[in-house]
């Protein structure tokens, strides 16, 4: 029996409330012990990561070990936010997994170009989403070394 490492803090940026709810539920269903936090757009994401305003409370809003990033968000979309994150020396070590509805090849290419660790198209069924959460959890927690 493997000793689980400390819980992975995952920060998910998605403007869609339903998607956030489903992600939450899927994470719960997957039985992976990770904590999932949410922001709604790119602006909020950066503020969270930089600890601006209400996010300065690191108890309530801990720094994530993994970011799940949707691409199409208002105010600042995922691509721009990603660029900012990777440009910021304090933030760029956090792995970013793009989780988006877009199947467009150019989005994928751009995503990897900007430094995303993975590009995943959102699963269609809930079960697949559960599966994804489980796999993500196991992979990023049990196998990957994070700084």
């Amino acid at each position: 029996m493997s000793i689980p490492k400390k819980t992975l803090i995952i920060l998910m940026a998605d403007d869609d409330a339903d998607d956030r709810l489903l992600a939450q539920e899927a994470m719960h269903e997957s039985r992976v012990l990770n904590e999932l936090y949410f922001v709604e757009d790119g602006v909020q994401l950066l503020r969270y990561l930089r600890g601006d305003g209400e996010f300065s409370d690191r108890q309530a809003y801990p720094m994530p070990g993994l970011i799940l990033l949707d691409l199409n968000m208002p105010k600042m979309d995922g691509r721009e936010a990603l660029a900012h994150i990777k440009a910021d020396p304090r933030l760029r070590r956090i792995p970013v997994v793009i989780l988006t509805t877009s199947k467009a090849e150019e989005d994928m290419v751009k995503g990897y170009d900007l430094g995303a660790a993975s590009y995943i198209t959102k699963p269609v069924t809930f079960d697949a989403l559960v599966d994804l959460m489980r796999t993500l959890g196991k992979y990023w927690v049990e196998f990957v070394e994070l700084p």
Partner: protein, 509 residues
């Protein structure tokens, strides 16, 4: 509709000139040569006549001179002889002796030059007779004088024999001279006539020659002008044609650009629409799943059933939206035709279907396929659909058997089309369908089976037909229930493409 500039205002005449066969030109040349030859001969003859005339006139003049000379000599001789008689001085005899020396020669000459005219000849005969006698007479007198027989000499003179002879001689000479003068006048008149005639003839000949030359030149000029006109009309027509072609090409390019723009807009619309339509569907399905999973107890059997049906419906809608997007992409994502080796396409499709083929234990036999002008990815879609169908609609309990055959270098079924065509046949031994549905299977979203029996939205064959028709070909189906199905694809092996359009399209995609 304007008249062709070539025909406008042309008279029959000018057409005839243009159409003169070369034999006419040869005849004209022959006529000209003949004319000039005749002209030359005529000129030569004219000169000859003139020369003859001149000789004649000279002759007559000479004769007259001879006559005068003879007269003078005789007169001189006579007066010399008389003087000697009177003076007995031999000095007086000089002219007489001179005359004697030349008289024979003169007579001979005169004789020769009068030999032609019979009257003159007769006179000359008489003249010679009298001259002889006169000379004899004079000689007698001189001799007598020499011998100093003056009285005898005088007696001789007094006989008037000398004078009579002289008179006769004079008379003859006068007659002869006047005759010669007549002849002279006649000859002169003749010469004048000849000269007139020759001048007229030469003028006429030269005039004709000039006219001929002018005529030839005129016809040549008209011909040349006509040809020049034709050439300029041709050049104008060419320029006009080029302009029109340019305008058409412009219009074509513009149309092609508009088409491309329209396609791009359509694609954007289709993509966004399908994307935005899929998103709520996903939510429906996701929450439907949650409902089933978390609240199965509360739902009960009926409730769960409802949810399941709802899920299925959403799933179908999602598939339909995807298919519609694919269908629209046959146009919006079309690529220009290039030479495509269909064997390569088939291999890649077989790779994709590898799993399904293995799963069903299918046997697939593929003939070598030709290389044709086509859109490779679209042909892949066609092959995928046809093979997929054959795998799907296999006879239950039997392994699917699929055969693909090909025929090439066929004559085009279209009128006025010179391209070679090829025929591909996809045949299977599956469940088949009734012959009456052979056309219906190609309709969009048409299915011949219920959802429960076989999956699929019914777009596959409609997609195939759309793609094949875009390639300018046809696809037809033949089948009987339980006897499998044969899908026949007829395709042209080459596609015409307009160069500028092809480059434009290549740049855009």
């Amino acid at each position: 509709m304007s008249e062709s500039p070539l025909v406008d205002g042309r008279s029959f005449n000018q057409f005839v000139i243009n159409k003169l066969p070369s034999s006419v030109w040869v005849m004209a040349l022959a006529a000209a040569i003949t004319f000039f030859t005749v002209s030359a001969v005529l000129a030569y003859r004219s000169i000859d006549v003139i020369t003859q005339n001149n000789i004649g006139i000279n002759n007559t003049l000479q004769t007259i001179n001879l006559i005068k000379d003879l007269n003078r000599e005789l007169m001189a001789a006579e007066s010399s002889q008389r003087g000697y008689l009177l003076t007995e001085d031999p000095e007086y005899l000089h002219p007489y002796r001179q005359t004697l020396a030349v008289v024979d020669d003169l007579l001979d000459q005169l004789g020769a030059s009068t030999a032609q005219l019979p009257m003159q000849k007769k006179r000359f005969e008489s003249l010679r007779y009298y001259v002889r006698h006169k000379i004899d007479d004079m000689h007698r007198i001189v001799t007598l004088t020499n011998r100093e027989e003056i009285r005898a000499a005088i007696r001789q003179v007094k006989t008037d024999e000398g004078i009579e002879l002289m008179r006769a001689i004079s008379q003859l000479l006068i007659e002869m001279e006047s005759e010669e003068r007549l002849v002279l006048e006649k000859n002169k008149a003749l010469a004048a006539e000849n000269r007139q005639f020759i001048i007229m003839a030469l003028l006429l000949a030269n005039a004709i020659g000039l006219l001929l030359s002018l005529g030839v030149f005129y016809f040549w000029y008209r011909n040349a002008t006509y040809v020049a006109e034709l050439n300029s009309a041709l050049a104008a027509a060419n320029a006009e044609l080029e302009e029109k072609v340019g305008v058409r090409t412009q219009a074509l390019l513009q149309y092609s650009e508009e088409l491309q723009r329209s396609n791009r807009e359509l694609e954007e619309f289709a993509f966004v629409a399908s994307h935005d339509l899929q998103e709520p569907l996903r939510k429906i399905r996701a929450f439907g799943d949650r409902l089933q999973q978390k609240f199965s107890a509360e739902l009960g059997e009926t409730g769960s059933d409802y949810v399941l049906r709802m899920q299925a419906a959403s799933g179908r809608m999602s598939a339909l939206i995807d298919d519609l997007l694919s269908f629209s992409r046959v146009t919006t994502k079309q690529r220009p035709f290039v030479a495509v080796d269909l064997n390569t396409v088939m291999h890649s499709v077989m790779d994709d279907l590898d799993y399904a083929i293995e799963d069903s234990g299918a046997q697939v036999h593929i003939d070598p396929l030709p290389t044709i002008d086509a859109d490779g990815s679209q042909m892949a879609q066609v092959f995928m659909n046809l093979l997929g169908n054959s795998l799907k609609f296999h006879a239950p309990g039997h392994r699917p058997i699929v055969t693909v055959t090909s025929e090439t270098n066929l004559v085009s079924p279209l009128e006025g089309d010179n391209r070679t065509w090829c025929c591909l046949r996809f045949a299977d031994q599956g469940i088949g369908f009734e012959a009456q549905y052979a056309e219906r299977v190609f309709s969009l979203f048409q299915r011949l089976h219920g959802r429960e029996e076989y999956s699929g939205t019914g777009i596959g064959l409609a997609l195939c037909r759309k793609i094949i028709e875009r390639h300018g070909g046809t696809i037809t189906a033949q089948s009987e229930p339980g006897e499998g199905a044969v899908f026949t694809l007829l395709l042209p092996m080459t596609q015409t493409s307009i160069e500028p359009l092809r480059d434009l399209l290549a740049d855009a995609s």
